[in-house]
Subunit: 458 residues, 2 copies
């Protein structure tokens, strides 16, 4: 039977949607300097939304890069405190030409909102705020638990500012559990809690060869080529299947618990459907690992792009003097970013081709995290989620990284409920990213009920 | 003792320089569509210059891409006909940030003109026009030989239009010899004729993997990466020294005549100086070949750049769906572009990694050429050149490609005098391309005297 909260949410759906669309129109691309003002505008929008929802002490906190937003409501003595986290920054939208409708002009088609950031993470972060509004509006301005909000604008660029802020503000951020909605349902209609995330180390590898770009006719055959040197180096990082060949990278990899591995086999996972989402002729990766193990419990080495040389229209016969590759490692539990970096640097040094110099730069690094699925907050979350969707909650891992979850564990000593409402085909970081409108409302309801029930167990 | 022609050139040096600077100010970058109008403007400039020099029947001939320019002066009955070729288009100037002064605002420093196209080829092509002016002005409007001019605007993009024009206009272009100034002195002060040029085949290799760019957290470990697939493919093309590993590519390579190889050993060549020009820590290439053989008589495979994935500032964790590499083969005498292409296509097919599709596109293809050094015009050119510089002329090859020289041989049945006045450190295709002003005047004098002497032998 629908509660007062459910009724309130139902009655306000169209306004909740409009507010989200307004936020999605702000191109808060954190990695591109030309969008710095847009990112600041998105921060202001979120801060206002928190205030309108009745959150107190709302502050937009300047950082060396993009602002953090803090706010709290602490009038439930004796009740637990939930630290709500989300991010208002988004990935760059390129390649733009592949978007059916512009990335920052949200378009509604077939019950979905198409826009950059719709699922990752504006649409999910905003559910928290609307859940708070619904709870307060139907309960005389009161909340069933104490809440704190910490929302960042650098999640897509490594989250450096929040990583500095958390250790310095442990008292302010003190809580019993963190709540993050930046993940997805394992499959449509399946209540899902994520209890593990891979870490991420993002690097640049720069190769230099000749002192300047050379004419390939005059020097070709005798002069080193920086782009080709980088290609020859990076090609050695993995074998034809996708197994990493860099010595030491697999050394510390934790083997998942057999019980957990067993539970993955019961998930409604179709390799065929996964291949359809990927859209290639076949999958790659370590042949002796299941697909879920490959994306959840195994490290990866990925090359995201190479800049350097000539890539414009037509022909330029140049031997490039310089090339930079963007590469990353996804890391799994027990892997230490410093050790992986040391192994990579040594390997780069040992394998740099003749006539080429290389340099490795770290853009960000965060280890993997694992959450205890038997923690009381996780337990309440699982039960609530089962009720709203009418099915048992499944526990999965995620292949992506939410670096702050590791900080919450190590600095604040609290676990994180990773309760997300995206779908596997939402296209995060891709053209035509979408978020299903029904899941937006489902998320608001589920979060509101989770907070209610969590307030009851104390 | 200086002749009347020498005096005329001396007296008009500053005007000749000003005219060239004006031409260099036109950014006639043939490969970039946004410069189409500039290329047309450069064509108009050259046509006017020809008319002012007394060349008749000057025509700007429209083509599918950039215009050709034709002109002639045919009033020396019984004398040979020289077909003067040059190009008024230039390479793109990027990377712009490495130019000390803007590429299309010619700057004079230390006796050099710094500008894109100063040496390749505007500065050299324009010498022909000024030599004609000097000859006519000092000889009552007459020339010692018949001349035809054919000047193109697509040399830097494969020369498709001129390659179509020549076979269809054999009568119009009938001549005894072609004259091209698009090469360089072997060393400062050494009169040099080029008697061999490598061919060039410029290709694009496109790799596709996933249907769209994917989130590397969600799919990393199981999804193919188009950029990495292309890297793994291309890395196999050469070994660590630079030897090409693509089966069949070396099959037809002609071994140079031992006499020619012997003569290369007597050239004032310093590997140390060559390394200094390259600016890297060491040279690469086939270890069993001399440096001159590697750049003149051996084929190369070069990767000029890879587009695809993320290469902007900061971090984007994307598994790229698509990647395109610009690659080329330099070919030597006896290699057939069609056979090299077939070998490459087969190799690409056989080595394309799992989950990746590849496609090869040809942007241009022209075979290598060799000129008989004992041809009378080459002989006269060598003698003239020896006189203007006071040293024996050396015969060398060039590693670059001037595709039209092959067309002149096969379609018109004439050899080409490759008499260029650049210097090895001119930086063709590189930032800060330069041309020495003294060599510009030297070129005008030497060409004028070559035409005079060539007129005497008939």
């Amino acid at each position: 039977m629908p509660s007062a909260v459910d009724d309130y949410i139902k009655q306000n759906e169209s306004r909740f949607l409009e507010e989200l669309l307004e936020l999605l129109r702000i191109p808060s691309v954190s990695t591109l300097p030309e969008h710095t003002e847009d990112v600041a505008r998105a921060a202001g929008f979120v801060a206002s939304a928190l205030e309108r929802a009745g959150i107190e002490n709302v502050q937009v906190i300047p950082t060396a890069n993009h602002p953090l937003i803090y706010g709290d409501w602490l009038h439930a003595p004796g009740k637990p405190t939930v630290l709500c986290y989300g991010h208002y920054d988004v990935q760059p939208p390129d390649p733009l030409e592949l978007w059916k409708t512009p990335p920052f002009e949200p378009s509604i088609r077939d019950g979905n909102i198409y826009a950059r950031g719709s699922a990752d993470d504006k649409g999910q972060m905003y559910m928290h705020i609307k859940a708070i509004e619904a709870l307060r509006s139907t309960n005389g301005g009161k909340l069933p638990v104490n809440v704190k909000f910490l929302i960042e604008g650098e999640e897509e660029v490594g989250g450096e500012s929040i990583a500095k802020y958390v250790p310095k503000n442990k008292d302010r951020l003190k809580a019993d559990v963190a709540l993050v909605s930046d993940t997805e349902l394992f499959a449509d209609g399946v209540p899902t809690l994520c209890v593990g995330l891979r870490g991420l180390m993002y690097l640049e590898v720069e190769a230099t060869g000749p002192a300047r770009d050379l004419h390939s006719g005059m020097y070709g055959g005798a002069a080193p080529n920086a782009v080709y040197g980088l290609i020859q180096l990076l090609a050695k990082a993995k074998d034809g299947d996708g197994r990493i060949l860099i010595p030491g990278v697999y050394d510390d990899v934790a083997i998942p618990d057999p019980v957990e591995v067993e539970s993955w086999k019961r998930l409604p996972f179709s390799e065929q459907e996964f291949l359809r989402l990927v859209g290639s002729t076949e999958l790659t990766g370590e042949p002796d690992q299941s697909v879920l193990a490959r994306i959840w419990a195994r490290p990866t080495f990925e090359v995201h792009g190479i800049a350097g040389g000539f890539t414009g229209a037509g022909a330029k016969t140049v031997i490039p003097a310089k090339a930079v590759a963007k590469v990353s490692f996804r890391m799994v539990p027990n892997q230490n970013p410093d050790r992986v970096l040391a192994a990579f640097k040594k390997w780069v040094k040992d394998n740099t081709p003749k006539g080429i110099q290389t340099e490795v730069r770290v853009l960000s690094a965060a280890p993997a995290i694992l959450v205890n699925p038997h923690h009381p907050a996780i337990d309440v979350a699982a039960k609530t989620f089962s009720e709203t969707l009418g099915k048992p909650t499944v526990f999965i891992r995620g292949g992506g990284s939410i670096p702050i979850v590791g900080e919450f564990a190590s600095e604040l000593g609290i676990p994180t409920v990773l309760m997300g409402f995206g779908l596997p085909d939402d296209g995060l970081h891709s053209p035509n990213e979408k978020y299903r409108i029904a899941n937006y409302y489902l998320g608001i309801r589920t979060i509101a009920h989770f907070l209610e029930r969590y307030g009851e167990i104390s």
